[in-house]
Structure formats: structure tokens, C-alpha cells
Symmetry: C2
Subunit: 186 residues, 2 copies
């Protein structure tokens, strides 16, 4: 079965408290909706910084969450000089320390991870596509720089939009663009 | 059968004439040998530049060649704002225009490519590993962010060192380090 890909560039999720520390009274402004219901990219961006390097214009995603998390690629991690673990969003076990700088202040958090490859599903999608009880799958891209990526986790959320999320390392290695279709291999 | 990986960061090959335009009378200085016999990384580095961006400290590889070639990743290509083709080294058909800047001058060449995934072989290696007559294979990495990369070309040269060459996008997508071992799938 085919699934379309959404490519995640580096981005930040913030708690309401951390958002206020970085942006003060400035409200989150929606730049564009994401495909997962309720999720959006903000006009707000931050700088992420380590002793080795800083990366500017890292986008904040909304709405606020119960955790502050910085999702980067392994390529970013090398350039920042840190070694973050591969994690499911929200699992910050062993996450790398990083500074997050906004217009009103800066915070240091153990928040940097490399997001695992994942597919958004809900109960209805699992039933429709015979994915009930499955933890992870592989996805296959044919053609130039083709590959089968393993270790793709199914991630449950209510009213999910059925989409594969890959980071820029995976996407660039396979020459993928947003909305390209890959084959799910169970 | 297993093969160890060598990860190619962005680098430049130069003709003798282009080397002189960039470095004048300065001799190529060997920084370190590469595993392919006769090949070495130089102390010399250049800047590569497009109208969008420049990247500094791009290493020159020696010895000089019959063509000038800039090998970059897709990630680099996005940041430079160019769309180079995936090519075997030496095949510059459709290569992207790029400026190369050295201490003594700069040149503009249609020279930028994304190197294809490849394995260095010679006749002896082909015979030993039952690779005679084979154009390309796949390679498999197990474990976290595991994958099977297809479209891995066998590249013949005399006295080759049997090694898989991947660019930083492929390597970072699979969390590979130099000398990690992958399984060849024929």
C-alpha cells in the first residue's frame, strides 16, 4: 500500500511556560496548518545553540505541548557537536542539552532528539489498512537512490492524517520531496 | 557478504590547469592517504559558491584528474540552491554550474554532482566475491534507523580497495560511521 511523505525540517515544540520565557506576551501566530489535525507551523522562530554552533530560524510548531522538544537531523547534530538519541516525539529520555533563544530570553533544556521515522495512524486507519497490532513497518522508494527504510514506527493519535514523516537526512538520502509516495512493507 | 563503509564528505577534484588557477605555484600537500591506492586528501581547501550561498573549507582530493568535479550531498545542494544530478565520478553530464574559489583565483565550472552510491572493486575482488558481470547491488544496515540502500554501483579500478562509498546524507540517515559494516545483497 502507498503512503505519502511529509518531510520534517528541524523544529521546536514548547511548553506554555517556555514559550512565554522566549516570546513574552507575543501570541503564537499561525503561519500554515500542518496535515495532522490541529497542528500548525508558527510565524515564530528561535535560534538553537550549543557551545560549538548556532542555527537560526528554527520554526516553532503549535499548539504548545506538555514538553519542550527540539527535533533535528543527524546532520544538524554533527554541526552542533551533540549526539542526540533517536526518539519518538515526547520521549526525551537521554535527550541532548541545547539552548533555545527567542526575542525575549533564552532557556537551556535537555530537549534535543532525532525523531524516529514514523507514520501517523488512528484506529480507523489501522483497521482499513490492516495495521492493527503492528508496531513498525518498512517503506520502499523505487528508482534513483532507491531504498527500503526500516524501523518506521506507527504513531497513534486521534483523527490522524495517514502520512509518513521522515527527517531531512532520510529525505535527502532518497531524493524525496513532500508528497512523494512510498510503498509500505509490513 | 559484509563490506565496510567510507563516508565521503563534500570534496573537489581538479585538473592540473584548474589547480594552478586556484593555487598558483603551491604544490599539492598530502594531508592523509585514502584507502583507494594512490588517492589522498590534500591540505588544500577551496570555497564553493553559488548566487545563493557559499561553503568554505571544501577539501581538495589528489592527485589531479582529467576533469574538475565538485561532489556534494543533496543537503548541500539545497543550501546552495542548485539541483545537481546523481552521477558516477567522471560523468559530468548535466552537472550544475558552481564557482570554486582558491587563494590565487576563482573558476566557474559545470562540475557539481551528487556522487552515486558505489563500491570499489577490481577483477580480483569481483571473482572472489562472485560479483562478475554485476552492475549494481543493494546494501543493508540492521538496527536503529536500519535500511536497505539500492542503486549501489560497482566501480572498477585497478588494485581497488573493496569499500562502499556513501555520501553524508546516506550515512547520516542510517547513523553510519566510517568503517561500519553493511551486508551486500546481490
Amino acid at each position: 500500500m502507498k503512503i505519502s511523505v511529509g518531510i520534517s525540517n528541524r523544529h521546536v515544540h514548547l511548553t506554555v511556560d517556555d514559550y512565554k520565557l522566549l516570546f513574552g506576551d507575543e501570541e503564537m501566530e499561525k503561519r500554515n496548518d500542518l496535515k495532522q489535525p490541529g497542528m500548525f507551523a508558527c510565524n515564530q522562530v528561535v535560534t538553537i545553540k550549543t557551545p560549538k554552533k548556532e542555527i537560526n530560524k528554527v520554526r516553532v510548531l503549535g499548539p504548545v505541548r506538555s514538553y519542550t522538544q527540539v527535533e533535528i537531523s543527524k546532520t544538524d547534530a554533527y554541526s552542533l557537536g551533540i549526539d542526540p538519541p533517536v526518539r519518538t516525539s515526547g520521549d526525551l529520555d537521554g535527550a541532548s542539552e541545547i539552548e533555545i533563544i527567542g526575542p525575549c530570553g533564552s532557556i537551556i533544556r535537555k530537549a534535543a532528539i532525532i525523531a524516529n521515522r514514523h507514520i501517523h495512524v488512528d484506529e480507523k486507519i489501522r483497521k482499513k489498512h490492516k495495521l492493527v497490532g503492528i508496531e513498525k513497518v518498512s517503506v520502499r522508494k523505487e528508482g534513483e537512490k532507491g531504498a527500503t527504510l526500516d524501523d518506521v514506527y506507527l504513531k497513534d493519535s486521534e483523527n490522524a492524517y495517514f502520512e509518513l514523516h521522515l527527517d531531512t537526512d532520510d529525505a535527502n538520502a532518497l531524493l524525496l520531496k513532500n508528497d512523494d509516495e512510498l510503498e509500505i512493507i509490513i
